[in-house]
Subunit: 157 residues, 4 copies
């Protein structure tokens, strides 16, 4: 395979991976409510973007910690999903989040990166970044999520 | 003070506490988006109710883990808030959540109960219960949250 | 079966469960180093006892948070183990601990209680109690542990 | 100040920081029990080294998760300590650890790196690495710790 074909093949793989994640992402009513959109998708990492919205805030007008967690959990879950077999489902077992700075926005990026991809259990680390009006990024939260690969059985088992 | 007056006084205290929490709760855009309502409020514990909604789901139609976390975080934060000085603000430092069963609903109750109320740091445990159409309760998630009491300084310090 | 026989049978079951846990407990070099001993063992719950020791301290003379975690992790892991098939191995995937009060002792009890026993994943909650010289118990730490049941394959898979 | 003097001054600062951490580290009975030694100390990061020991194991002969946590907690706490005022004490509020691979050794390095240094609360991330007989490093655990700066009051407040 020459370089042009190799590049085309790699691009097709990336596109297929993006579509696989987007198909699931689009089924998440929560992502619509957040006004979130899927950013970069690569093997072992996924980014999600969203903006500050008044309907997602806590009492001081910042993004609610749970809404930060919602976007980070999806980023982490899908990051693990990119390394799973095509017929697998992904299930979050648990996560922990540290809130580091008030989430003002106006924009946010949520990055999930797989730290360990296991047959059954994967560990994924997430970072929530505020992107200021001036483009300056600031870390606002970190997450560690433990997710499970479900194969050939219902998600409720 | 006779018993009738004592009862009236205790009720007034409970009403004042409820109002204090509700004033803050009503400012949370996120609670409106969840369709959540404040349940019982007592010193050291708060309950929040909500129903399953398609706009809060993950890809399999269950409540998104992050939305479960959003309601639990508010229940835990406000549980700590009930034991803080009247002029204090409450800030979630971190939380961890374990997802135990799929969150189908149709109803959910989120209970936050203070395990340790400290001068600066409080530890609160939360439980998310699904209330089935038949009224049967089922544990769907547990949370431990670490929250901070903020006095006389901005929330961003 | 008459009552006497039923009682004898229940006692035999409890003894067998205790032996199963003790066999594994005794293989933990860490428990010897802690001077820990196995307390009550019942289906879904295990207690471990230990005393304050200078060789287990942090810089202020209290029990090191990690040593509290070591005893709690064993209590939680074995609590899950009591509900697993006889040929299963137990593996801690992750845990979170909140340190609530300085661990002075002189005695400590660590209780692990299963919150959810799953086929593959179990969630266990632990509480570390200080037992003062006057017998008064004080909560010093809480843990939530996620443990895995390993069947018919190596622990390293 | 010329370059030679600047270098000498920087080295003196590093030495003083190392001594400050080592003074506290040496008071931890737990570190002696682990056979742990202090590695690199820099502003915002600390490494600790130790070897596999039979007296620190769980039932399968690997390092007990709690012992991994003990070393990581110290590395994380001291990493935060390097950024605190000279008269401050450091207190772990909570930590979460994910166990990623069996801790066989023969050597281990535990790195704590500050993610956010706050006036009161700091967030520190830790990584436990196994260093094989062949020198190959392998990630065996990750930790996120929340630590508190204590100034001018007892650690028990």
């Amino acid at each position: 395979m020459n370089q042009t074909n190799a590049d085309a093949s790699a691009k097709a793989d990336r596109d297929a991976l993006f579509e696989r994640v987007r198909n699931s992402f689009d089924k998440q009513g929560a992502m619509h409510t957040l006004g979130a959109s899927l950013g970069e998708v690569a093997p072992g990492s996924v980014s999600i973007w969203m903006s500050h919205r008044a309907e997602l805030t806590q009492q001081h007008g910042y993004l609610h910690a749970g809404m930060v967690a919602t976007a980070l959990d999806s980023a982490c879950g899908y990051a693990a999903f990119t390394l799973m077999p095509a017929d697998a489902a992904v299930l979050t077992i648990e996560f922990k989040i540290n809130l580091i700075a008030p989430a003002k926005g106006p924009r946010f990026r949520f990055d999930g990166v797989v730290t360990k991809a296991g047959r059954t259990i994967s560990v994924v680390d997430g970072r929530a970044l505020q992107v200021g009006a001036d483009g300056v990024e600031k870390l606002i939260a970190t997450m560690t999520a433990t997710v499970m690969t479900l194969l050939g059985r219902g998600i409720e088992s």
